[in-house]
């Protein structure tokens, strides 16, 4: 039995006690998988596993609070589940976690760029094959092969948790992380190299095309205010409805601040953005600061308390008495 078949069997066993199990299935074309809510055995048969499972299903858990649900996770997704547990946003008794080893997911923006460079359109993709090392996309009559390592999500190139950090059912043998622990963040390095005015110009350029749709917010598993977000509340009226780059950047900063020390760098905010705006860098920047100050990484230990959700009289790395 293949790993995927075994996973399906285990889900079918658990399904009678659950409202649903969240996973992925094939989407409208071969480049798109889409979240799957399994409620019947026939649904489970649609389950997919592989590099096109780009979505983080943890985003749905807080909205299903009170119901007992199952969730299939990649390593990165499991960190979001753990972070939600740490913050008491979901109840451990109400969630059943299924995991398998993950070898990375694609970044569709990179695939699109590769295809465009070859004169093919991702919108015309008619077939995709993968062998774990290469992704071959057939579009408009031509087939373009690309190494998975070059078109996978940036987070996969730095991933330290390819196996779920927490799982009730784990299928397959855990694999070792493929990347060194301190792999560099190219996006942060590029921003670091800019002067402050250059950085501001960078963000203005990108925020100019933001449509204020809030896909970045709603795809984020840790953005739980959602319907009551200050970006849209009128009382208080924190943000105007103007579509200026300043106002839109203000929202991104609010988002990033609310995620400081909570963001697991799943990258959903950036992946979800229809305008391809690199909003993840803001969160990564804050995470780096949190890591330097508190030696903390979000969503790894279910028992840990995120640093900004607790108070310690003496912080190890903040020498306020000796400064």
């Amino acid at each position: 039995m293949s790993r995927l078949e075994e996973l399906k069997t285990r889900i079918k066993e658990a399904l009678p006690g659950l409202e649903c199990v969240i996973g992925w299935q094939k989407g409208f074309d071969p480049l798109h998988n889409t979240p799957l809510f399994m409620r019947s055995e026939a649904d489970v048969d649609k389950l997919e596993w592989g590099p096109f499972n780009v979505h983080n299903p943890a985003v749905y858990l807080p909205t299903l609070a009170g119901k007992k649900v199952g969730i299939v996770v990649k390593g990165c997704d499991s960190r979001s589940v753990v972070e939600l547990l740490q913050e008491n946003l979901i109840n451990r008794d109400n969630v059943v976690i299924f995991g398998m080893p993950c070898e990375g997911v694609i970044d569709l923006s990179k695939v699109k760029a590769r295809l465009a460079a070859a004169g093919a359109s991702a919108g015309a993709a008619s077939a995709v094959t993968t062998d774990g090392k290469t992704v071959s996309v057939t579009a408009g009559g031509q087939t373009v092969a690309m190494p998975l390592a070059e078109v996978r999500a940036d987070k996969c190139g730095r991933c330290q948790f390819p196996n779920a950090v927490l799982a009730d059912t784990y299928v397959g043998d855990p694999i070792a992380p493929a990347a060194p622990a301190a792999a560099a963040d190219a996006d942060l390095a590029a921003l670091d190299a800019m002067s402050v005015p250059e950085r501001m110009a960078f963000w203005r350029y990108h925020m100019e095309r933001c449509i204020r749709c809030y896909a970045c917010r709603n795809a984020c598993p840790m953005c739980v205010c959602r319907d009551h977000c200050i970006a849209q509340s009128r009382e208080p009226h924190w943000l105007t409805q103007e579509d200026t780059a300043t106002e839109k950047l203000f929202f991104q900063v609010v988002h990033a601040m609310h995620l400081a020390g909570r963001c697991t760098e799943c990258g959903e905010c950036q992946r979800a953005c229809p305008m391809d705006i690199p909003v993840l860098a803001l969160k990564k920047h804050l995470n780096r600061t949190i890591h330097d100050l508190f030696s903390y990484q979000a969503g790894v230990d279910p028992q840990a308390i995120p640093p900004l959700l607790q108070f310690k009289l003496e912080e190890d790395n903040i020498k306020e008495r000796s400064w």
Binding site: G27, P35, S121, G123, H206, Q232, T240, D276, I277
Partner: protein
């Protein structure tokens, strides 16, 4: 109809430049990983291949528009009395939208019935609509994407409805056909030459693109089918399970026209703004009492699909409020597919 004209690719910048001397010309340009409409300036590199990420909706219906400004003051004669001065919004700028796909322009036909009707004519919309001319580009087979379904909703890759000029890519350049008087005026430029010799090629480009879309399923029963599913919340739960309730689908939609109004005060003066609303957001029908008739994403997705494929056609001679551009499918972070939902509703009604 006016004779077919032709413009060589290398002459296009000259034409754009001359158009830009008289009005704002919005062209699709690449910004980061997206393609958006921006004012043309010499040197700018328009992207005429694949459809723009965001449609040219903002050309006539800006994402955020000032309705008026106000200033509060004191009456000099009677200090106990306040005064209020209203300052009207500025007039719309003459604009040419150049190089959108036909579906992007056709979207405004859906708007027109709402904002240019007899009952509630909207001066802001009418003002901008009349100041705008659409030069669209028919799709070739290279532009037909998996998400395109204009042929399902009574349109097609060379649909000129809503366009003033229709360009068609042919070898070396484009043919140009005027579809309205406003469009004919734009074709008077000397950089365009006679295109009669290219007309047959243009026709075959259009026919091939239509062919590439394949057969359209019959969704003519969608108005009744969606209405029949109105109270079936299990159906809507299933359709909306994966939706994350963002507004990407509505903001990117060339036919979504809902707006909200907010006052943006700074001290004693301020502005009343109208901005895009999205039925996928919780605040969409949130009442002052706190009651929300569309409290869940299932109710909200029902509204979006129902509005386009049932309520609007019922009110407007069967016209579907969707131009089939596929943006809501392509750009949805979780690939919710409106075609699938409509077909599921049609299948549900058949039992």
């Amino acid at each position: 109809m006016a004779a077919v004209k032709y413009i060589a690719s290398e002459k296009l910048p000259d034409w754009l430049k001359s158009l830009a001397e008289k009005s704002r010309v919005l062209v699709p340009v690449a910004e980061g990983g997206g393609v958006v409409f921006r004012p043309y300036a010499p040197g700018c590199q328009p992207v005429f291949g694949s459809d723009a990420t965001a449609p040219p909706k903002g050309s006539v219906f800006p994402a955020c528009q000032e309705l008026f400004r106000y200033e509060r003051g004191k009456d000099a004669e009677d200090p106990g009395k306040g005064t209020l001065k209203l300052l009207p919004a500025t007039e719309a700028e003459p604009t040419v939208v150049f190089g959108a796909k036909p579906c992007g322009a056709r979207g405004f036909l859906i708007f027109d019935r709402v904002y240019m009707g007899k009952k509630f004519p909207d001066p802001y919309y009418i003002n901008a609509r009349e100041a705008t001319v659409f030069v669209t580009m028919a799709c070739s087979t290279a532009n037909v994407e998996n998400t395109c379904f204009c042929h399902w909703v009574g349109s097609g890759p060379a649909d000129g409805a809503g366009s003033d000029v229709l360009l068609t890519p042919v070898a070396g350049g484009y043919t140009a056909e005027a579809l309205t008087d406003k469009g004919a005026a734009l074709l008077e430029s000397p950089v365009l030459s006679d295109g009669a010799a290219k007309a047959a090629e243009a026709d075959s480009v259009k026919a091939a693109a239509r062919e590439a879309l394949g057969e359209a399923p019959d969704i003519s029963t969608s108005p009744a089918a969606l209405l029949a599913a109105f109270d079936d919340m299990d159906f809507w739960r299933d359709q909306s399970d994966k939706c994350v309730s963002c507004g990407a689908c509505t903001y990117l939609c060339p036919t979504c026209y809902c707006f909200t109004i907010t006052d943006e005060p700074t001290g004693q003066s301020g502005r009343r703004m109208r901005s895009w609303d999205a039925c996928m957001h919780f605040q969409f029908t949130l009442e002052a009492s706190g009651h929300n008739p569309r409290p869940t994403k299932a109710h909200r997705l029902k509204n979006r699909v129902g509005h386009k494929f049932s309520y609007y056609p019922t009110l407007h001679e069967g016209i579907i409020a969707c131009c089939g551009c596929g943006r809501c499918i392509k750009s949805c972070p979780v690939s919710v597919d409106i075609r699938e939902i409509v077909q599921n509703a049609v299948a549900r009604a058949k039992g």
